[in-house]
Structure formats: structure tokens, C-alpha cells
């Protein structure tokens, strides 16, 4: 048998030949040092090519693809909390605005000013009692909440903590689970 061509060795390495031809080439390679040398060099070069790392696309690519499809990535816990609180915040705002309008206009269309005052007074008392109980409790567990804006600061800090835990612990865990 003559020496093998590079193409024949390539096809042998790729396993792309008929079984009988594979056997013939295998037999030749066992006895021909020159062809075996070529085979080893080709295999070395092939390995080097197969080990080439893929080129990296920009980091925001996946987000861009998903947003062009109108698909949200996993919603964060912080966003979920905000989203769930939104109706409550909106309701409070609407009620507040209505109350303010009624109070400013002295309107007789809605409840009478006296009735409004009674209702607002009752709600206000309830909110005030609830808030002061909560703030007293928070002051006992945290010294930060004792200042003028302490409660707000504490709530913001708690929210930031939840957002950080969500961003750096829960989301990576969820992503790892998916991929």
C-alpha cells in the first residue's frame, strides 16, 4: 500500500470512511512509521483547533434578545414586592386625593364635612395607633429607628437588604438551576 494522503488520514481521524476502509488504513498505520507521524501531527493540530475558545458576545446580549421578544427575565424579589405593593399604594393615593379634594372644596356631594371628619378621624386614629405601635416595636429591636426619620430609614434599609439578597443570592441560584 502506498503512503496515505492527508485527506485519507483526515477522513480516518473523523471516522468518515466505510468500516472496511477504516480497517485497511488502521492496518497500514500500524506498519508505516511515516504515515503514523503524519497522523499524530494532524491529531495535534486538530486538538488545538477544537480547544479554541468561542468568542464572547456582549454581556447584555441575552437581555436584548429577550426584550426584543417581549419576554422578561426572571422577575427579582424586589420587583415582585414593589409590584404587589403597587395596588395598595395606588389605592392610598386615590383615597388621599379624594379626601383632600373633599376637604378643600367643602363639597356637599360626598359625605358631609362632619361625617368626613368623623371617618378621617377614625381612620387617622387607627393608622396613628398602628404606626406608633410599629415604630415603638422597631425602636426596641433597632436603634436606627429612633430618630426623626428613623422608621423611613429602617424600611429603606430593609428593602435594600432584601434587594441585595435577591440580586446576589436568589437570582444567581435560580439562573444556575435553570441552566
Amino acid at each position: 500500500m502506498n503512503h496515505l494522503s492527508i485527506e485519507q488520514i483526515d477522513e480516518f481521524v473523523d471516522g468518515a470512511l466505510e468500516p472496511r476502509r477504516m480497517e485497511e488504513i488502521d492496518l497500514h498505520l500500524r506498519t508505516c512509521e511515516e504515515c503514523r507521524g503524519k497522523l499524530l501531527a494532524l491529531r495535534r493540530f486538530d486538538r488545538m483547533l477544537r480547544r479554541l475558545p468561542p468568542q464572547r458576545v456582549s454581556p447584555a446580549f441575552t437581555t436584548r434578545v429577550l426584550s426584543s421578544l417581549g419576554v422578561d427575565e426572571s422577575p427579582s424579589l424586589a420587583w415582585t414586592i414593589l409590584k404587589n405593593l403597587a395596588p395598595l399604594v395606588a389605592l392610598t393615593l386615590v383615597v388621599g386625593i379624594v379626601m383632600l379634594i373633599l376637604r378643600l372644596s367643602g363639597s356637599t356631594l360626598g359625605p358631609t364635612p362632619q361625617a368626613t371628619q368623623t371617618i378621617t378621624g377614625t381612620i387617622g386614629d387607627a393608622v396613628s395607633v398602628g404606626t406608633s405601635t410599629l415604630s415603638r416595636w422597631l425602636r426596641t429591636i433597632s436603634p436606627i429607628a429612633s430618630g426623626g426619620y428613623g422608621l423611613t430609614v429602617l424600611v429603606l434599609l430593609l428593602f435594600a437588604l432584601i434587594a441585595a439578597i435577591d440580586r446576589f443570592i436568589f437570582l444567581p441560584l435560580a439562573k444556575r438551576k435553570i441552566s
Binding site: I6, E7, D10, E11, D14, A16, R44, F45, D46, M48, L49, R50, L52, P53, P54, Q55, R56, V57, S58, F61, T62, R64, V65, L66, S68, L69, V71, D72, E73, S74, K175, R176, I178, S179
Partner: protein, 185 residues
């Protein structure tokens, strides 16, 4: 334990659209490597890749699972890149180079792994487009002959001939460069 491509696809079909992000993450870099080889331009490659992922998502219902998701996706990407190339040919200023134009190969000054990678890519990129593509599909996307046939829709004989020529050219250029000398040491 990570989910396989077919498991991810099942979940996407069941309404878990956000699982598509994991599929994109898994195939984007290899897809980008193919698109860069075909288009020779990173921005165009990224645009083509995004287009291909969007098309793949919209046709996911048609994916029957007869082949791997990767092969099916590369076929979409390959066609998007071909369309882009055809579009360039209508606008001669956008064509970067001719198919068989001889290109200069930069010499390698260091045998450090990162430079070796860049050097190998530079030799591949200096090859004619059809050879770059088939080399990329074979070595970088790790597709078999049959899968390359499926992606490119070319006959097996053509794929074999192109791959053989691409390899020969690549090796010749590698051996004639300092890289070949360095690897022989």
C-alpha cells in the same frame, strides 16, 4: 443539575418563556463565533445572532427534535448570515473582501495561550469565506459531516471537499508561519 436543551424547550413550550434566556446563554458564544467567521464583522455578527435567536424562538413550535437544537439553530443562523452577505453584495462598499483574495497572515511573536488563540483565529479569518464557515462548523461548533450538511444544505461530497481544502490551506498557512515553528518545538 442543569436542564438539557430539550427539557428547556419543553418548559418554554409549556409557557415558561423566560427559560429561553438559558438556551440563549448556552448557544450564544458558539453562535457568535460562527457569525463572526461568516460576516467578518462583530457588529454585524451580533445583529445576525440576535435575529437568528428571535427567529428560532418564533419557530420553536416547528422544532421537532429530530436533530439537536444547536444544529437546528446554526442552520437558522447560517441562513441569516447568508442573507446579510447577499445584502452586502448589492452594496459593493459594504463587501469587506473577495472570497479568494489572498490575505496576509500576521506573524506570532509569543507562544502564550491567549496569543496562540488570537493567532489561530487570525489565520482562519484570512481564509476564504466558504472555508472559514465549514471550519467553524466542524471545529468550533463541533458538528459532524452530516450535521454540516443539514446546516448548509450542501451535498456531503461538497462538504467533504470544502473541509479538506480548508484544512489543507489552514495547515499550510500555520506551517509557514512562526506559529507552526513554535508548535513544532
Amino acid at each position: 443539575m442543569s436542564l438539557s436543551d430539550s427539557e428547556l424547550i419543553e418548559r418554554i413550550r409549556a409557557g415558561g418563556k423566560r427559560f429561553y434566556g438559558a438556551l440563549v446563554d448556552r448557544h450564544r458564544d458558539r453562535g457568535f463565533t460562527l457569525a463572526v467567521r461568516m460576516l467578518h464583522n462583530r457588529e454585524d455578527a451580533e445583529e445576525a445572532l440576535q435575529d437568528a435567536f428571535v427567529r428560532a424562538y418564533r419557530s420553536l413550535e416547528k422544532f421537532e427534535g429530530a436533530s439537536k437544537f444547536g444544529t437546528w439553530f446554526y442552520r437558522i443562523l447560517y441562513n441569516v448570515c447568508l442573507t446579510k452577505i447577499a445584502g452586502r453584495e448589492h452594496d459593493p462598499e459594504e463587501v469587506e473582501y473577495e472570497d479568494d483574495r489572498p490575505s496576509e497572515i500576521p506573524s506570532m511573536s509569543d507562544s502564550d495561550a491567549r496569543e496562540m488563540t488570537e493567532f489561530l483565529y487570525s489565520i482562519i479569518d484570512a481564509l476564504p469565506a466558504k472555508y472559514r464557515t465549514v471550519l467553524s462548523l466542524f471545529y468550533l461548533q463541533e458538528l459532524s459531516y452530516d450535521e454540516i450538511v443539514e446546516v448548509t444544505q450542501r451535498p456531503l461530497g461538497t462538504v467533504k471537499v470544502q473541509l479538506a481544502r480548508a484544512r489543507r490551506l489552514l495547515r499550510e498557512r500555520w506551517n509557514s508561519s512562526e506559529g507552526g515553528a513554535a508548535s513544532a518545538r
